[in-house]
């Protein structure tokens, strides 16, 4: 029963939600809307569960003096402080002059932006280290990448303007300018490949969903057969 009931529920609700896409009648659409609303509530409660787990794991690590345990204290204190301050300040917790707003503006926001900005540096090092032209296809990819990268910024247009205005290379039609080439690459070959991968991935999603609904892929429940 421990496995059969969830599997049965999954199958029934899964089929019902598929049906709701095709059947507009209120006998189907009203319960389907209710299930969608319930999903929103479930997700909200999930945060409570997550917070409790984070505290449990980190308290355990602090108690056992696991490597890096002082940082776990920082994490726990930050978590509790942010939650308590936000709970006290209530609905207006992100209004001006609120402590939660201060935490958001001066701690969370800069730290998120800093982590994201690391991408710029990592892209440079990845480009230097790993982008090797070993085959014809890789060469084509490199040329396309260079055209798109340069064509998307003002410097690219300056470069092609300069190139095509040189005496040894008479003016070329605008279609050969880097920005136009870049637009064509994005509109045509890139779009085509993207669509093909999207269609394949969508079929994969449907297949996985069908396996879950039919109970063939039951690992999400627990691994025991």
């Amino acid at each position: 029963m421990k496995r059969e009931v969830p599997l049965f529920l999954t199958a029934v609700i899964g089929v019902f939600m598929i049906l709701s896409f095709f059947v507009p009648h209120q006998w189907v659409s009203v319960p389907a809307d209710f299930l969608q609303a319930s999903a929103v509530i479930l997700v909200a409660f999930g945060y409570v569960l997550g917070g409790a787990n984070a505290l449990r794991v980190n308290f355990d690590a602090i108690y056992k003096r696991s490597p890096g345990w002082p940082y776990k204290i920082v994490l726990v204190v930050s978590l509790i402080t942010t939650v308590v301050v936000g709970a006290i300040e209530g609905r207006t917790f992100l209004n001006e002059h609120m402590r939660s707003k201060w935490i958001y503006d001066w701690i969370y926001s800069p730290m998120s932006s800093t982590m994201f900005s690391l991408l710029a540096f990592f892209i440079a090092s990845a480009a230097f280290r790993a982008f090797r032209i070993r085959t014809v296809e890789a060469g084509l990819l490199a040329v396309a990448a260079l055209i798109v990268m340069l064509g998307r910024v003002p410097l690219g247009d300056l470069l092609s303007d300069w190139l095509f205005q040189a005496k040894w290379l008479p003016g070329a039609p605008h279609t050969l300018h880097l920005s136009s080439l870049q637009e064509w690459i994005m509109d045509v070959p890139q779009n085509t490949a993207k669509r093909a991968i999207l269609i394949g991935a969508a079929l994969g999603v449907m297949a996985t969903g069908l396996r879950v609904i039919l109970g063939i892929e039951r690992a999400y429940l627990s691994g025991e057969d």
Binding site: V23, V30, D60, A126, F131, A207, E217
Partner: protein, 393 residues
Amino acid sequence: MLALALLLAAPALAHAAAADSATVTTPAPGTPPAPRPASGLVGADVPNDAGKAIRLDWRASPDDTAGARLVTGYHLARATSPGGPWTVVDSLAAGTVGKTDETVDRGKDYFYRVDAVGPGGLTPAGSVTGPVHAASQWFNTTRWSVFTAMALFFGFVLYYMSSARAGKKPFVRRIPGIDAIEEAIGRATEMGRSVLYVPGIQDISDIQTVAGLVILESVAKLTAKYETPITVPVTYPIPFTIAEEMVKAGHLHAGRPESYDPNSVRFVSPGQFAYVATVTGIMLRDRPAAHIFMGSFFAESLLLAETGFATGAIQVAGTANVHQLPFFVVACDYTLIGEELYAASAYLSGEPRLVGGLKGADLMKLIIITAVIVGCVLETLHLHGLTLWMTTQ
């Protein structure tokens, strides 16, 4: 005679009185005249819905022209009987010739009229339309194409699943990335270091997370078999509990339930970059020898992969988020692209039903390719039937 005239005029007078429950205002001297009425009002049930809407269309007042300024708008009024009482449902700008009334009760008969309004006053409609009621439909007829494609797809997948279970297991080509997973775990075992498994950063509502967690069970089974520690940081609570079950089950299937470490699966944070900071910290401190990224990733993918590369770990990644694939391809040793992620569980488990399902999906792809080619040819010949049939609402 007078009595006869009054008798004959009575119905018209009564109808006019009923239709004119709105006040007909007489323009003051110097103001423009009241606009001529709108006409041709028709009402119909909106199809393919749950009986929540009625569509009204009418012809504009002849005075409703650009520059004339005799019409400022229309009042759409509704009643449950032709004589009223009338309630204005909506006020619409000049030039409007249609409106969908979505405030109706299902199955109830309604009567409508549209009054023209201008600086000179309000002119009621010459006639009332009705009765019209909103009804539910049992099938959205614009979605036949989707239903057909879905039925075909499910049919193919179920057929090949059952034929694989009966012994006709189809051939599937090897995917190097999936073969590399066991190689990566083996390498971590030789080096005496752990395996880091990242099941994507999305919640369980993303099918890629489901796929990532399913693969986790096979990976956990292998790590348990080789007695290699595994670390699984997770972003959301629900995938966290499922990941715990996966790892526990993996150890159970490998015959080593006692080797399961409850702290191997860690809830981190739904915050994208908070999660990345934690995972890169694990990579730099704990130095796992193998990194496996399977699931939905966004901007953090290059941060994870490049930091992982710097530690010298072998890295296998798989995602259906196309915009992150280039980063994984560049920085990881092996990458599963798009649907290969969804196929991975079939490959790793080798279960005939799952492998059969792959063939069903492949056949559906062939149908789609054929439809694309046929559709392009038909469109080129200006034959739009197939395109129109495939357009949904």
